[in-house]
């Protein structure tokens, strides 16, 4: 039997973690080390080589939204455990631990904001919460962000980062794909735009649903975006994959992205796009 593709968490899609523990503030590309405040000041971009570190959801929002403009929504939505799932550990334990470690309710933060004085909704994922995997809570919150944008007639800026589906929620995690898709359909029916910023990594079920339906879709440099992760694909093809397999640059070349934008250019780009969609 041939190998299967899954939309579940693919840890292999996570940022490179070579053997030995590297401090999260050490640049994996050039080895430069930064203090937390230095990284924050540079929007988590390595000043030496330009490597884009992952950004936490709340950091991303503080950096992107006009100061004081963000109002978080659906703070109370939490993952349930409908299957009483237990592998080597209980799913409820994994959730509790992730909540403790990240200070987040689940792998997404949503709410309303202004960017360069234009109103929008934000839906920003956080890879540090169980690999940014999409379970019912992520699906529900993303869908509510669509609802809010549709209701207010403003664009939704979506910033995915995900290893795939939350397999501990079984088939219900798979159903978050159509759930987010129909929410986007309703958003579009209401005349609002979806602007998507792919960040590293975005793989699995999120790619086959909410991440690839943007009216405009851009990515940060070097971001991995693929449905199947590179290791699954190389196991299938039995070949060495192209160096830049699934990276933003090759996805741009292959017609899947409107632009690859260094973080420094992202805010003015989004401000411009908001002006264009607000003008109507």
């Amino acid at each position: 039997m041939a190998e299967r593709i899954d939309v579940s968490i693919e840890h292999r899609g996570a940022p490179d973690q070579p053997a030995g523990k590297r401090h999260p503030n050490t640049c994996p590309a050039c080895g430069s080390h930064y203090r937390e405040d230095e990284l924050r000041a540079s929007a988590w971009v390595c000043r030496h080589c330009g490597h884009h570190f992952a950004m936490r959801a709340r950091d991303r929002i503080s950096w992107l939204a006009d100061p004081g403009s963000f109002t978080e929504a659906a703070l109370d939505v939490r993952s349930a455990d409908p299957l009483n799932f237990f592998d080597l550990r209980a799913y409820t334990d994994r959730i509790a631990e992730a909540e403790m470690a990240t200070g987040l309710g689940d792998a997404i933060v949503i709410g309303s904001a202004q960017v360069d004085a234009r109103a929008c909704e934000l839906a920003v994922m956080d890879f540090s919460f169980i690999g940014g995997s999409m379970g019912s809570a992520v699906g529900e919150k993303f869908a509510r962000a669509c609802d809010a944008a549709a209701e207010k007639g403003v664009p939704l800026i979506s910033i995915p980062s995900s290893g795939g589906a939350r397999m501990q929620e079984g088939i219900l995690s798979l159903m978050q794909m159509p759930k987010t898709v129909v929410a986007i359909e309703e958003l579009h029916a209401a005349g609002s735009a979806l602007i998507t910023v792919i960040t590293n990594p975005t793989t699995g079920g999120v790619v086959a649903s909410l991440a690839m339906l943007g009216d405009i879709t851009v990515a940060e440099p070097g971001s991995l975006m693929s449905f199947a992760g590179p290791r699954v694909v190389s196991n299938i093809t039995k070949e060495k994959l192209p160096e830049d397999f699934g990276r933003a640059e090759s996805n741009f070349r292959l017609g899947h992205l409107d632009a690859v934008l260094p973080r420094a250019e992202l805010r003015p780009y989004l401000a411009k796009v908001l002006r264009l969609f607000h003008g109507q």
């Binding site: 939309v7 968490i9 809570a137 086959a208």
Partner: protein, 312 residues
């Protein structure tokens, strides 16, 4: 609009599964179906480890009827349509039009191969983006002519090859779901074997979604789940028991609208009987939503999927 009886039964169905599953779903004339499902949930015990694993094995049984076996038994004047009008005709997906209970419908399904050569040709039912694009073309045609759309789901998953990724596998699956969410015609889907992750869900955004009794529907294969969570692919039985990909649990979780009976021992033992049962369910499923207007039907379909999931 739902009758009081329907709402009451849906409520009980929801409570049984402890789920907010049926919120906002317009229904019509499906009282009997709901009563039957309720009875099933109340009277039959939920399957556990061994029963679930039996379904995993039967769903993958190499004598199980495939999409074209059902087409042969259920459709008149079948006319298979080929090609994505861009670069390929993907044999892992079959699409066409034919007459079903006296009216023209479109049917789209994954197609596995029976012998080794055909299995390779059909790529084990694992589609490339070109296959989903072919499906979308036929859905568009069906919608334009008012042909109801039937989908049969039977795939280990979308093909994870290099070209498939380069040609936008993820985006195509997303757009295929979006297109099904946009259709104005009645739609019915059934998982007839393996409902494997994104490759399966691409065809599952229907007004009525069914599973055959021994079909499975899951976010990841039991082997894949075991590999990641147990770090041992051989723990697939444990993974299956934990993920509950069987029809009974999918019904309980509100993910499907009903279960299609199989011949005793599995569909592989009597293709004609399996086809008859599938055909009756699909016919009734389409009839359930036929009387709704296109907008209402589409809104109900979207509301159903919008409501799926459980949060605390």
């Amino acid at each position: 609009m739902a009758s009081d009886d329907e709402l009451r039964i849906r409520d009980r169905l929801g409570k049984l599964g402890n789920l907010p599953l049926l919120r906002g779903v317009a229904v019509s004339g499906e009282l009997k179906r709901l009563q039957k499902q309720l009875k099933r949930l109340e009277q039959e015990p939920a399957p556990a480890g061994d029963d679930i694993w039996l379904s995993v094995e039967l769903a993958r049984h190499q004598e199980r009827p495939y999409t074209l076996d059902y087409v042969e038994r259920l459709m008149d004047d079948w006319t298979e349509l080929h090609g994505d009008r861009a670069r390929a005709d993907d044999p892992a997906i079959v699409a066409g039009i034919g007459r079903f209970h006296g009216r023209t419908v479109a049917l789209i399904g994954h197609q596995k191969g029976r012998d080794v050569a055909e299995r390779v040709h059909r790529n084990f039912g694992m589609a490339h983006p070109e296959g989903y694009r072919k499906a979308m073309r036929v859905m568009e045609l069906a919608d334009r002519f008012g042909f109801p759309v039937i989908t049969l789901i039977d795939t280990p998953g979308a093909y994870p090859g290099l070209a498939a990724e380069q040609h936008g596998q993820g985006g195509m699956i997303a757009r295929c779901q979006a297109q099904m969410a946009r259709l104005r015609v009645p739609t019915a889907a059934c998982v007839i074997g393996e409902g494997g992750s994104g490759g399966a869900v691409a065809f599952a955004i229907a007004d009525r979604v069914y599973m055959q009794e021994h079909a499975i529907y899951s976010v990841i294969s039991p082997e894949g789940c075991a590999q990641i969570l147990w770090r041992d692919g051989a723990e697939a039985r444990k993974a299956a028991a934990a993920m509950k990909p069987d029809a009974r649990h999918c019904l309980e979780l509100g993910v499907i609208d009903g279960i299609v009976d199989e011949p005793r021992g599995g569909a592989q033992l009597n293709w004609d009987e399996a086809a008859f049962s599938l055909g009756e369910t699909l016919r009734r499923g389409l009839a359930d939503v036929e009387s709704l207007g296109p907008e209402e039907r589409r809104a109900a379909r979207r509301a159903k999927f919008r409501s799926m999931g459980v949060t605390a």
